[in-house]
Amino acid sequence: MSRVSLRHRLAERGIDRNLLLLLPAAVFVLTLFIYPFFYGVGLSFQPKRGGPLGAYREFFTDAYLRDTVWTTLRLSLPAALLNVLASVPIALRMRGRFRGRRLVTTILVVPITLGTVLTAQGLLNFLGPTGWFNRILMSVRIVDTPVSLTHNYWGVFLSLVITGFPFAFLLVLSYLSGIDPTLERAAATLGAGRWQRFRRITLPLLAPGLATTFCLTFVLAFSVFPSAVLVGDPSGTTRVISIAAYDAAYVKYDYALASAVAVVMGVVELVVIATVLGGRSLLYTGSTSGGKG
């Protein structure tokens, strides 16, 4: 009697034999992600010298290492913000059905499939000192000397926008299509103009989605590596944190320091995400439909 009721009570909370199906995935995650993660964290506390916190002390006292945090944030925060902000008006225009919508979506999304290296190569060809962009600018005499857009901050920034925008756009578009279109129509019949409809109805309902999108594109941009090396200035203005980690691990063979850099990277990301999601929790995050449908 009591055994039966225990099994029933467990089943009611979703605990039954079907749960075993989760096992393979759980083992996979455990061995390939969680274990290496803790191994790395452990490693960061075992440097060759300076006690358990030696690697961290080295990171934060060496300006060449410490400043990579700011360099990376300076690139990734504006890039993520621009990606989200630029996605909103375009997604708003792309919401309805129109001829050629699929083509436009495809063109907007293609950079995802290209990969960062190909994008970097394209940028070098297009924006380099003898690229089309500068040749056109010079031939119509807007500038006399080529504008420097590669091998510096702007090259990496543009690369982050090109590869990050499609993600942001697709996410924003799907959040936007989740908002009941009759809400805006209702607002229109109540006298709200186009801008007020956006500000008072669409934006508040979209804002939580924008916060999530920002977090995801930020994480993508924060771990930038290939474009920082290829179109950036990897020893100067675009020496991002992942380059520091790479240097520590494969140039200096200091695994403790490399792990410490990785942990710092994770903590910085967590702080930014926690801040954004903390702000998000102040927003309305419930249903985005206007009633029973």
């Binding site: 009941d180 009759t182 809400l183 129509r185 209702a186 607002a187 229109a188 019949t189 109540l190 006298g191 709200a192 103009g193 007020q196 008072r200 109805i201 508040p204 309902l205 309305y284 419930g286 249903s287 985005t288 439909s289 206007g290 009633g291 029973k292 449908g293």
Partner: protein
């Protein structure tokens, strides 16, 4: 903004979607204070007509006049009409109070006036204890009342309602129907109401507009549409469940004798009918009476009996195989042979042509 009008005229209002006419040449004059119901089966163009009036759909033909002001070129936010949507379209992130206040805030009215008018509207729809809640925390009927309050708080010159009761259960639907009627009587707001429910339209409206395939079939007061439908489609829609294809044999003095399926009946012609014409005979279930079985008289065998409270609905079949629906307070048993009687005034005879 339209303050108020004497007459709202729709002249040849048309709307087509990629070449298919969803609404064709709607002519209608709405007088101030009137309650108009647009009635028809789904896909008849009634919601299209409403959206055209609201400004949510641009017209592809025709004009809308508000007294002497042309209206169809204005965007929805400039028309000053209130609209109640089928799914209510309440703003999910705003409280009941803020939902109702939205339109007033858009008009930049003084804060004190907004507060007073919203409070009045809340009182009118009896939602006082729910003002601070979000729409998601309300029941369907309460959401409906918020939607109505939000539309009427602006005292719009015209209220548009798009099947507002179709998402409610039967009991609540009756209650809200009375509520809408009561509101119309108290506030006297001109209303255009879209529905596919003939009973709803009959009970609420001062005038009905019956639509089919985007075309107006009949415009008239409820009694007229109910008792004198102009063609077989309107009859079908207004509850003439028995529609039988027959032939006119003699026409005289406002009476027509029809024959077919082994039956001979006398009815009232609607439209031009000549002897020999193919006709459709329409009669309501409640106008068919069970009589005695007489020699050569119409008779049928009872097949299904459904108890429906005060009356029973009977499905019977004649010897020639026609199914008849009738309602009676007697209680025949399946298999009984019954005679059929009908008042010639209640038996309408329509031309059988494809359209009329």
């Amino acid at each position: 903004m339209t303050a108020s009008f004497e007459e709202l005229r729709l002249e040849g209002v048309s709307r087509s979607f990629s070449g298919n006419a969803a609404l064709a040449d709607l002519d209608l004059t709405i007088r101030r204070g009137e309650f108009i119901a647009l009635l028809g089966p789904s896909g008849c163009g009634k919601s299209t007509a409403l959206n055209c009036l609201a400004g949510l759909l641009p017209l592809t033909g025709g004009r809308i006049w508000c007294d002497d002001t042309r209206l169809d070129t204005l965007p929805p936010e400039k028309r000053g009409f209130g609209m109640v949507f089928q799914n209510y379209a309440l703003f999910p992130h705003l409280s009941v109070w803020r939902n109702i206040a939205f339109g007033l805030q858009m008009r930049r009215l003084p804060r004190a006036e907004i507060r007073k008018r919203v409070d009045d509207a809340v009182h009118l729809v009896r939602l006082k204890e729910h003002v601070a809640k979000l729409p998601g925390q309300l029941s369907g009927g309460q959401q409906q009342r918020v939607a109505i309050a939000r539309a009427v708080v602006l005292e719009p010159s015209l209220v548009l309602m798009d099947e507002p009761l179709s998402n409610l259960d039967a009991k609540l639907r009756l209650e809200m129907r009375t509520e809408i009627r009561r509101l119309h009587q108290t506030l006297g707001l001109t209303t255009v109401y879209v529905t596919h429910d003939q009973e709803e339209a009959l009970s609420l409206a001062d005038r009905l507009v019956v639509l089919r395939d985007g075309k107006v079939q009949q415009i008239g007061p409820p009694e007229e549409v109910h008792t004198r439908p102009v063609n077989k489609y309107v009859a079908d829609f207004m509850g003439y469940r028995n529609l039988v294809l027959m032939q006119a044999s003699t026409v005289e003095g406002g009476r027509v004798t029809v024959t077919g399926h082994g039956l001979t009946l006398v009815g009232t012609p609607v439209g031009d009918i000549e002897p020999g014409d193919a006709v459709v005979v329409g009669v309501r279930p409640e106008d068919l009476r069970i009589g005695d079985v007489v020699e050569d008289g119409p008779a049928a065998v009872v097949e299904v009996v459904e108890y429906q409270g005060r009356e029973v609905a009977v499905e019977a079949r004649t010897a020639s195989g026609i199914e008849l629906h009738l309602r009676t307070d007697r209680r025949p048993a399946p298999g009984d042979r019954i005679g059929i009687a009908v008042d010639p005034r209640r038996l309408l005879v329509f031309p059988a042509g494809p359209d009329s």
